[in-house]
Subunit: 152 residues, 2 copies
DNA sequence: CATCTAATGATATATTGTAACTTCGATGCT
DNA sequence: AGCATCGAAGTTACAATATATCATTAGATG
């Protein structure tokens, strides 16, 4: 199993965890936010804000504009419900919103599959390198582009 | 001084090093490429392709379209003459184009200043994490967003 | 010179991301 | 109930980033 032992949520359980986390942050869990979260979680790869907007448009039966989705995704990222994959301009649901980890994304350049790894020792080294250079409030972005096992 | 002792180029020396590197790759060092490299190296922060296009337009006295700049920047990145900062959608000249390093960028969210650090041990760990997950041809993207010493 | 190819130009368009302002809906107050 | 308030979401417009396609030009090569 994974190197840390907290629960990995999925489906309804994940949605519940996300709702709890967001409300504990003092934010509302609205229908729109639930719909965006559902859409986000329904993808098996990182999805762009526009992909999500389209999915939500379908599920809602009306056009949802991208900027609404961006607003909500920004909120999700701030509340640790979602992560942004910088090198793909895309978003993924965080499987354990209650835990803070810097995370490492491995992104396949061919198929887009993205796997998520946590390595607190590694990210601690990176944070340390940042503070040594006088940087504060560091937020590491650790991603690896390459080819996944299936695409070799 | 830095933890590795090869020459850090600057100005004409850097340009010469870039030219050598590119021609050794079998690519041509054209006037346009020189102009793009000059523009790139003239910024003290990562610059967007459009910033560079504007700078080159000025230096050339005619309009240079963004796509030409993108083509050349892509070439530069492939040849190790430049790096792309993924989380800023921007490019910087590589100060030592003859050396291959994964690099770490520390980017100030307030002023945009970006410092470049090499830590081969760290990047080796990241590559290792990637291969352990079955990823091949890994190209780490290691960046840290935060606040620089001047902006605290 | 003729030809071939790499480089660049020109144009159009796709994709990603923000800004400004309006409308809606829940809540609390009188 | 009527009304003020405030956060969420809608609407529209636009800015910034990136790519695709085809035409043209400049060098290399024979």
């Amino acid at each position: 199993m994974a190197h840390h032992d907290h629960k990995l949520h999925e489906g309804e359980s994940l949605k519940e965890a996300a709702r709890h986390r967001l409300t504990r942050e003092g934010e509302q869990w609205t229908g729109m936010r639930a719909a965006v979260f559902d859409a986000l979680a329904s993808f098996d790869k990182p999805a762009s804000a526009y992909d999500i907007a389209e999915a939500v448009s379908n599920s809602e039966g009306r056009r949802i504009a991208a900027n609404s989705v961006y607003r909500i995704l920004d909120l999700f990222v701030a509340a640790n419900l979602a992560r942004r994959v910088e090198s793909s301009n895309a978003y993924v649901a965080n499987q354990h919103p209650e835990c803070l980890h810097d995370c490492i994304f491995l992104i396949c350049d061919r198929c887009g599959q993205t796997v998520h790894v946590d390595d607190d020792a590694l990210s601690a080294s990176i944070r340390q390198a940042a503070s040594k250079a006088g940087f504060s409030a560091p937020r590491p972005v650790i991603e690896v582009r390459g080819k996944c096992g299936d695409c070799d």
